[in-house]
Amino acid sequence: MTSWKNMPVSIPRKSTPLETSARPTISDYLVSAIIYGWLGLWSLLYFAFIALPFFGALCLPKWPRRAVLRWIVLGWGIVATRIGVWPFIRLTATGVKPGSKPAIYVFNHRSGSDAFLVSAMKRPMIQAVNGWPMRLPLLGFVARQAGYLDTTASTYDEALQIIRENLDHGVSIISFPEGHRSGAKEMLPFQSGIFRIARELGVEIYPGVITGNEQNPTRHFRLQCGRIHFHLLPPVDVATIRSFPSAFALKQYVRKQMVQACAEHEIYP
């Protein structure tokens, strides 16, 4: 796999996505509009291409329908991050490949683009997300149909049951344990839920980090030119997970690994 360290990252400082103190200029908004336009065009082309399987899938029973829709969502993620924002935003990916067994994947959460960037794993999975993406007109409908987990609408026991069912059907789970977007390089404290579930169900955890997108898009959804890097760390195996005395100790261990990985793979140090 290509190492990001071998790639040129000499972006002029003026164009880095970390320039947040300056008030955006008209040209910044213009660039954002161009990127969204390009992304929208590719998304439309993609949906035109998959319209038939998409509507066909809606007629299928629950689990086959979800399987087809997870592939469609993955395809959209790949089209969006590899073609839809290229060459304005360039994504690189390194690290281990996702395992063959269903697992829990945890990522840092700097911006709203993370949900698309996890497509760098090239595996269909479901995401545990906050309530608001589930209420978006098209995105929310597809996410619900694909079986995404709305963490704000489920108790711990319900979430545990949903995740158990998905794992039993061979579906991996993506979670952002910070709970909401940090909008910065600093990682927020982790919530324990997903780590408790991993301990309870005895399932591997793959930590991953996404860097460079802390302001891409910004909190006001403005896209900028820049680079984003995705890195997947080796899994924490079940024996190690169970060796921790509590979910808290496990989450702190995983978070420490992720903080270190972020420092190593930071695009804009």
Binding site: P189, F190, Q191, S192, G193, S246, F248, A249, Q252
Partner: protein, 92 residues
Amino acid sequence: MTREEIIQQVNTVFVDQFEIEAERLTPEKQLFTDLGLDSLDIVDLLVELHKSFGIALRNNEEVRKVRTLGDVYDFLEKYAREHPEEIHSAGN
């Protein structure tokens, strides 16, 4: 039980079960913001304090007011004063 014994026993729970470094365990530390616990961790903490001190805390209304580590010490000290027969030290 003295306050010192309570502090030591509570800190042992944080070090052993939560793997938090002993140096970080000072009374002014906020459980949520400084030590990084969330609501599920608090449930674990109450279970561990139950095991350590022998008192059921989950349904205690006073526990809901706890915000800092010092509040935990204060709560247990008060509980030990009011119910000396219920609370026990580690190993008893």
